[in-house]
């Protein structure tokens, strides 16, 4: 349990650092560390597959792309565009709405948290695969088609720009 509190503290700490650092590249690097702490959380929950996939996809691929784009843009503290106050107020309202939703959701879950524990072995690759390809086959296939659509769309958008030049 003490490991959980340590990792949870680190996760929140680095998440806050992500928001509060001025330099966008530092911000991305803090986000990488945040994802790493989330990976440790998954391992603590015995969800090995989710942990490794989180590690590979988020830390290894998506954040590398983020870093890549930021390096190309070469943003820094001086050239960062200042946001107007209206945007800040809107952001604050949206954040408060999200917190309210979360609080409401947790209030519903809290009384019966034995349900959450369930089978401790469910996070292993074998069990997860069996569940995904039996009970949840249709949602799984549909979500993969969704991803494919996004990919084809991205390629199409990139192609159009080439033609203009």
């Amino acid at each position: 349990m003490s490991v959980f509190y340590l990792v949870a503290f680190l996760a929140i700490f680095f998440a806050l650092m992500t928001i509060f650092t001025k330099n966008p590249v530092h911000s991305v690097l803090y986000l990488v560390v945040t994802f790493f702490t989330l990976t440790i959380h998954y391992i603590l929950l015995n969800a090995q597959f989710l942990a490794v996939v989180n590690f590979i996809v988020y830390m290894g691929a998506i954040m590398v792309l983020f870093l890549f784009v930021l390096m190309l843009l070469n943003m820094n503290e001086e050239s960062e565009p200042m946001k107007s106050n209206l945007v800040k107020v809107m952001g604050a309202i949206a954040g408060i709405c999200l917190i309210a939703t979360f609080l409401g959701a947790f209030k519903v879950i809290a009384p019966n948290n034995e349900f959450v524990v369930g089978n401790a072995e469910v996070g292993l690759v074998k069990n997860l695969g069996k569940v995904l390809f039996n009970e949840f086959l249709l949602p799984f296939e549909i979500s993969s088609i969704l991803l494919l659509t996004a990919m084809v769309g991205a390629v199409l958008l990139a192609k159009k720009e080439v033609k203009k030049i």
Binding site: M59, L67, M71, V125
Partner: protein, 346 residues
């Protein structure tokens, strides 16, 4: 019991760590010797017998060189870059099974540091992490050549990770497990090696491993004719040493991976017909494994002194338009063959 277990693993970690460092060290000598052989000259032969002390001299030189951190560089990240590169290079060897079990007294010692059941994915994750060392170092140098090298490294690594992952999926369809120890244990003898069932997958995996290690013909991140020195242009002294070291360790680990995943790991032909005790088979197995690894390291170097470097668009075309479709076709082919085998020949 628990204390003995921790001690056993600790000794194993220290041995694996030392062996990878020593092999990385002597890879530098081997590289220059092989280069000399290919180009019909002697290579380094002054320090020690046949140049055997050359890596020590090089290491010593790295330590005593002046260390420069450029004024415009971002100090903490500039130091973090090579650190991260060497750490990610070293931790990936944790799940490689070096041999079977050794019986010491009453204890069975497994020659693998961590037998986690998602071992293949773990290695894949660490490889994905490896590019951060290069990217952070290249960006923190505050030099346009370093940045260009870092960006090249990032895009190359992401492109070839996909091909590598897809080629591994076909392998996993055959092995039915993600655990490294089980994958190697399945390939006992000679005819069970995965290379016989996954030749295309192996070729894709090997090409991608070359690209992930930034070796010729994929060494565009440090292409000196275009980028001065690439991502490590601003690095000097031991920090440059760490970058070069991590490259050689990566080469060693990916050779070990290729040997373990496709060439039977510690298995060697006729291992069960020799009538030797388990300990001897294990020891011979470790030797066979290292023989395979050295073979692959030699192959890495052979390629380096044979092929010219790709152009950048050729690199991207090869990754996205050749290797990825080929890997997907390999997955489909593997699936069809498995299905036919299960339906008609089961």
């Amino acid at each position: 019991m628990e204390g003995a277990f921790i001690l056993e693993k600790l000794i194993l970690v220290v041995i694996v760590f030392t062996v990878s460092l020593v092999i990385a060290m002597y890879s530098t000598l081997a590289e220059r010797k092989i280069a000399g052989f290919m180009q019909d000259r002697h290579g380094p032969n002054r320090a020690g017998f046949g140049g055997l002390l050359q890596p020590l001299c090089d290491g010593g030189k790295f330590f005593f060189k002046e260390e420069i951190i450029p004024a415009g560089a971002h100090r903490p990240l500039f130091i973090l870059g090579p650190t991260l590169a060497i750490i990610t290079a070293c931790i990936s060897s944790a799940v490689i099974p070096w041999g079977q079990t050794l019986t010491v007294g009453n204890r069975e010692v497994v020659l693998q540091v961590a037998d986690i059941n998602v071992g293949v994915l773990y290695i894949f994750g660490v490889v994905a992490l490896g590019v951060y060392g290069i990217m952070i170092g290249g960006w923190a140098s505050n030099n346009k050549f370093s940045l260009l090298g870092a960006i090249r490294a990032a895009s190359q690594s992401i492109s070839y990770e996909i091909g590598m992952g897809l080629s591994l999926i076909a392998l996993l369809m055959v092995t039915q497990t993600l655990s490294m120890s089980e994958i190697v244990a399945q390939q006992s003898g000679f005819v069970n090696w995965n290379i016989w069932v996954q030749p295309i997958g192996f070729l894709i995996f090997m090409t991608c491993a070359f690209a992930e290690c930034n070796r010729v013909p994929f060494d565009l991140p440090e292409c000196e004719t275009e980028l001065v020195g690439g991502y490590h242009t601003e690095y000097s002294s031991m920090k440059l040493g760490l970058y070069m070291f991590s490259e050689y360790i990566n080469m060693f680990v990916s050779s070990a991976l290729m040997a373990a995943l496709y060439f039977g790991g510690y298995n060697f032909p006729f291992m069960h017909d020799l009538g030797l005790s388990q300990n001897w088979i294990t020891i011979l197995g470790v030797l066979a494994f290292f023989l395979k690894i050295f073979g692959f390291i030699f192959f890495f170097m052979w390629i380096r002194w044979t092929l010219p470097r790709f152009r950048y668009d050729q690199l991207m075309n090869l990754g996205w338009k050749m290797l990825i479709p080929l890997a997907i076709a390999n997955i489909v082919l593997t699936g069809v063959i498995t299905l036919i085998k299960d339906t008609y020949f089961a």
